[in-house]
């Protein structure tokens, strides 16, 4: 059967099948280990918390957890982990305020704008914001509430991000890239290292991923991986 479209099939852009394959294989080689580590944490930490609390006579407990992905916030369109989610950059504001803006701007269509939102920490360490009907939204989802300490940590991370972006340009978002800067690898490494150290992130690493710097791709595009405590420099062509 042939439902005609008159649009030819095409290959991936030259060289990218191979480079995507290499990156995929590299990702897969650590994929299971990361997943196992997450599962192990879930299995070990929760019973330990239960045991400690039981021993001290508490009858209820809340699993607490610090977020590790400080660079973005997921705004869910209903109180479920299976809901649609809009992922936006964190900017130091309260995540519920950020997601309220997303709702107000109509980026989560199809559901009425919620009157209350709850910020939780997902199993991955990312921040998820859900429509909320009561104070126990995160708990009902099996998640920890976003701790109060995030307010300060979120601002600190946003200051780091802003300082780096001011010098290297906005990170890429899909196929659209913003900013006029073209900063090469050495300078970008120096900028990032300096800002990490001066903002109290001395234990973070800087690494290059997604290819090598070359004449065709001399500019550093920046991205943040909070879980791995790494700032990633991606070689791109001049903007």
């Amino acid at each position: 059967m042939n439902e005609e479209l008159n649009i030819p099939e095409r290959d991936l852009p030259p060289g990218r099948l191979q480079s995507r394959k290499e990156q995929l294989v590299s990702e897969l080689s650590t994929f299971d280990r990361k997943n196992r580590r997450r599962r192990r944490l879930a299995l070990v930490v929760v019973p330990a918390v239960v045991a400690i609390l039981a021993a001290t006579g508490f009858t209820t407990y809340a699993l607490t957890r610090e977020p590790t992905h400080l660079e973005s916030v997921g705004c869910y369109d209903r109180a479920s982990l299976d809901a649609n989610v809009a992922v936006v950059s964190a900017d130091g504001r309260d995540p519920t305020v950020i997601c309220n803006d997303i709702w107000q701007e109509g980026d989560l269509p199809g559901a009425p704008i919620p009157t209350k939102l709850a910020a939780c920490v997902l199993e991955t360490g990312a921040i998820g914001v859900f429509p909320s009907s009561d104070a126990a939204t995160c708990e009902k989802l099996g998640l920890a509430d976003l701790p109060a300490s995030y307010a300060q940590e979120g601002k600190r991370f946003a200051a780091l991000r802003d300082a780096i972006v001011a010098q290297l340009g906005e990170p890429a978002s899909g196929s659209s890239r913003g900013g006029p800067q073209c900063v090469g690898e050495d300078e970008a490494r120096a900028v990032v290292r300096r800002e990490l150290d001066s903002h109290g992130y001395g234990d973070w690493a800087v690494k290059v991923a997604g290819g090598e710097f070359s004449a065709a791709t001399p500019c550093a595009d920046v991205s943040f991986d909070g879980a791995e405590k790494t700032v990633i420099l991606v070689p791109v062509s001049p903007r």
Binding site: M1, V85, G210, G211
Partner: protein, 197 residues
């Protein structure tokens, strides 16, 4: 040297060999990429989602038994699910996506205009397709655009073959009606017009 079958490669992937999965990627990335383009009308997005599909397929590789030892139908089924939950999938694999090679200005220098034309035509086609229920869209896209057999589409979607037939039949009838109503050719073969008038 005899080429390994999909099933053999899959078995090696299940045992934890990423390189075997890399060969499956090389073998099937193109049809997955083109299928995703036909569902999104965006070549750049289709490229990112192709990576997402293979990451998701790796995560679920132990859950699947390949039909007739072919991986493509199942990969297109994963692609269909990824499209259905696109934001969630991209969110799940966002860190990996950030590390993937990105689009460069010169990538499309040779066929940039043709690709822009593709996207324009495909957007029109998808507008017409959007008048169908999502379940029927999936069947049209898999059987009509990705050239899966009824049996393969059934395996991809996890539904009976008879359901594929009936959905496709309903979709074609509906598209004929819509095509007629909007002045498009309704020859019974074309699932969607090449371009809306």
């Amino acid at each position: 040297m005899v080429q390994a079958t999909d099933a053999e490669l899959w078995e090696r992937a299940v045992e934890g060999e990423p390189e075997a999965f890399g060969i499956l990627f090389e073998r099937h990335a193109r049809p997955v990429y083109n299928y995703l383009f036909r569902r999104t009308a965006d070549w750049s997005l289709a490229e990112d989602l192709t990576s997402v599909v293979f990451l998701e397929a790796w995560r679920r590789r132990r859950d699947v038994r390949l039909q007739h030892d072919l991986a493509l139908p199942w990969l297109l089924g994963v692609a269909t699910n990824v499209l259905r939950n696109r934001r969630r999938s991209q969110w799940r694999y966002r860190a990996a996506l950030e590390r993937m090679p990105r689009e460069r200005g010169e990538d499309f220098a040779d066929d940039a205009n043709a690709r822009l034309d593709d996207e324009r035509h495909m957007r029109s086609a998808l507008r017409a397709m959007s008048r169908l229920p999502k379940r029927e869209q999936d069947v049209v896209a898999l059987c009509g655009w990705a050239d899966l057999s009824y049996e393969e589409a059934a395996a991809a979607l996890g539904i009976p073959v008879g359901t594929v037939r009936s959905r496709l039949s309903r979709a074609r009838a509906r598209l004929r009606e819509l095509g007629g109503a909007s002045g498009h050719e309704g020859d019974g073969k074309r699932a969607v017009p090449a371009e809306e008038a």
